[in-house]
Symmetry: C2
Subunit: 221 residues, 2 copies
DNA sequence: GGCAAAATAATTGGCGCCAAAATGTTTGCA
DNA sequence: TGCAAACATTTTGGCGCCAATTATTTTGCC
């Protein structure tokens, strides 16, 4: 591979996290340090550091004297993380509705339009990035910055890999429609509606049967 | 100091995190690697690893070529983290009430009693541990394990250092009473009451004026 | 005596090497 | 031919040294 891309070691974790998310490494596969060195043009020490940090983030798992392998979370964990996201993002909805302004709506409409555009013309990765951009902008409306950080982290940890997230074109288009519904709810300052859409969007279920005010139930017990 | 205490390098992060929480290192002070080596009887590499992980956890901050210093979070961040804890723990309340059984109540009563006992006879650190033990046991009632993990992590990051947490004996005794109120609410399967107590307990405000059902407001804007 | 600049000391941080452990392969034996 | 043991290869992981950078003290000059 290209010998030296000279990346800032700080962002190597993020880079690897993205690649794991993007499905470059299949879940369960072992991450050999040599390969990572070559792929990212990093030193062995940087790779080890990044691996450790990713293990702390639960994205990879460390087995002493065996190495690191990407952590494939089971259905239960995936459900649980989704539920936590629903809890946090619906809790943030109130703050979002309070803080939203015309400029925010403008931005969001632009980002939603871009996502829809890429539904037709873009690659899966571009769609993924556009979706992230929309949601980051949306989350920034929340005044609680720590909450935003935690949600972003969960988003990275959950089963939001593009490969598994949007299985069908219909699902992608549905996501696009839900983005618009969120903007509508924000514009109308309708917290309950926003919560409903967010819940459906995160759970990727239809909008029917989603209670608006009460916190989400936990499936697994 | 004692040359080799031979700790498992895995837990060094937790150990240091605890010490930071316990106020062994004053906020803002620089953590010299040599001192840490001696104090924990660890190798330089282990210290560096732990430092990096703590930086990722936002417990310490890294300044290149200057070192690491313990990160004193400002009031705003402290408030925000508290708010997130309120959101998550009140959301967990429903699941807790659903899952609680007689054996759980028994355990909780025992742990609460132990906390009260240490109010009189124990050191601050013992009180801290007993408190943690109670809350871990309480959280374990929640079926969502990921939620539990996140709350535990937040608990470690938030301003829950014993030094700042229980300023007065009156405050400690109040905490003990609140523990009992939680158990009562659990026994009565009263989700709303549990939420109320949890909110007051985390915020360390009185029980008056705490809404039971609606999510917490965010102070900082 | 006070300030600036140079020399010294202390600390961080990067890099590479080699031992320990595990995996895969070949060989030997029943 | 199937199984087991020994060998070879690969991979991880620990340790130490030294360069780069920063803090501190000393020295020299005005």
């Amino acid at each position: 591979m290209s010998a030296k891309t000279k990346r800032s070691p700080e962002s190597l974790v993020d880079l690897m996290a993205r690649d794991i998310q993007a499905g470059v490494f299949t879940p369960g596969s072992w991450l050999k340090q040599i390969d990572l060195e070559n792929r990212y043009g990093a030193t062995r020490m940087d790779v080890r550091r990044a691996l450790d940090q990713l293990a702390l983030k639960r994205l990879v798992r460390h087995v002493p004297n065996r190495g690191y392998h990407v952590h494939a979370l089971d259905d239960r964990q995936a459900d649980e993380i989704r539920d936590v996201r629903v809890i946090l993002e619906t809790a943030a909805a109130e703050s979002m509705v309070e803080n939203v302004g015309p400029a925010d709506l403008e931005d969001l409409r632009r980002l939603a339009a871009r996502f829809d555009e890429l539904t037709l013309t873009g690659t899966i990765l571009e769609q993924y990035e556009a979706n992230i951009a929309f949601h980051v902008r949306l989350l920034k409306l929340c005044s609680n910055q720590e909450l935003v950080n935690i949600v972003m982290e969960l988003r990275g940890r959950g089963p939001s890999a593009p490969a598994t997230q949007w299985k069908t074109r219909a699902r992608i288009e549905q996501s696009g429609r839900e983005h618009l519904l969120m903007i509508e709810a924000l514009a109308a300052h309708d917290t309950a509606a926003l919560r409903r859409v967010l819940t459906a969007h995160i759970r990727q279920t239809g909008l029917e049967g989603v209670a608006s005010t009460q916190p989400p139930k936990h499936k697994s017990g």
